[in-house]
Subunit: 205 residues, 2 copies
């Protein structure tokens, strides 16, 4: 009986491609077995479980995005770097929607700590060096950028802005303009009593 030559890497790669084609949700051990024309149980020698497979795809996506970001960042700084970095995420998500969805998979803290996720925040901090924010404002800004890029791209991907004017690409460019302006004019921390406090919320849990 000829062997199919399965490895965790090939399974992950094929799973990523499948995710882009049919959606990350539809990536299943069974579907992958069909793809390699192999019985389902055979995959369990290479992959611990369905969740393990999905985690590997997520890690692959994070790596690929970090690589692309590092590439885009080389030789740039300031707004130029910010825009290039932002575009990496958006472009990746548009080109690889399934992988991008995978990258949102909730990872265990240990897995996350060992993932390319840390490169992402390092790169974000590198960009922010061009804007000269003191700690802890820099951390706030890292989180703002991460959240904004992720949130916008994910809304765009789920069809939020499609087919309504103005074109989403225009908005994206303006958002980069706006974030650049914001980072250059980062507001000082308001005085204690001027701050808007969150509501106390005593409603049912």
């Amino acid at each position: 009986m000829a062997r199919a030559g399965l490895t965790p890497q090939r399974l992950t790669q094929a799973g990523a491609e499948l995710a882009d084609e049919v959606g990350f949700e539809q990536v299943t051990v069974s579907a992958l077995a069909r793809h390699f024309d192999v019985k389902v149980a055979s995959l369990y020698s290479h992959v611990k479980s369905s969740h393990d497979l999905k985690t590997r795809i997520a890690l692959l996506a994070l790596e690929e995005m970090a690589d692309a970001a590092a590439d885009a960042l080389a030789g740039r700084s300031g707004k130029d770097a910010l825009a290039a970095f932002a575009n990496v995420y958006r472009d990746y998500a548009r080109r690889h929607p399934g992988r991008y969805a995978a990258s949102q998979l909730r990872l265990s803290p240990e897995t996350a700590a060992a993932s390319a996720g840390v490169r992402h925040s390092q790169m974000t901090r590198a960009i922010l060096r061009g804007y000269d924010l003191p700690e802890p404002e820099q951390t706030h800004a890292v989180r703002l950028l991460g959240g904004t890029f992720h949130g916008y791209v994910s809304l765009e991907l789920s069809g939020g802005f499609s087919h309504s004017a103005p074109d989403s690409s225009v908005t994206w460019a303006r958002i980069v303009d706006a974030l650049d302006a914001l980072l250059r004019n980062w507001p000082a921390e308001p005085a204690r009593d001027a701050r808007v406090e969150p509501e106390r919320d005593d409603r049912e849990a």
Copy 2:
């Protein structure tokens, strides 16, 4: 044989509660049948499919968030309104993680158009009236706010910032400060040749 008194509403409600307890992914027709101590097939008289059930939960979450937002917005304007609005999303997501996850479900365009999603963008526009942005900048800003709130909350929920200083609530407050500052000083559209263009990207699809 006594009847359980199932209705689409009760199923949706119970499904939402289940989602908050065990995660939206784990909400299943079978689990719901167990909850009502009823055979699985019985639910199919009230709900078209598993996907239908999930869609109903998503719509419920969108309604609840819109109601809470409308409530929070009453009598407020400016930064006060912005902060209250932002907190509604974050608080809702923290209190109802399963429902919040449901609200991210990709809806068909028709379903989305008939959902409370439209109230959300109307309210966002109402807040922006306090900042006096011309079209199309106002639309860009609506998308920025939506993306930022969603993205930050969703990163926070997936554990991104937990257990690392500074506290996520502090960052959240500073992000609201920053967005307020940004909206008050919304940058003019850069001249054509000063703009940073997205990279042409000819890599493989």
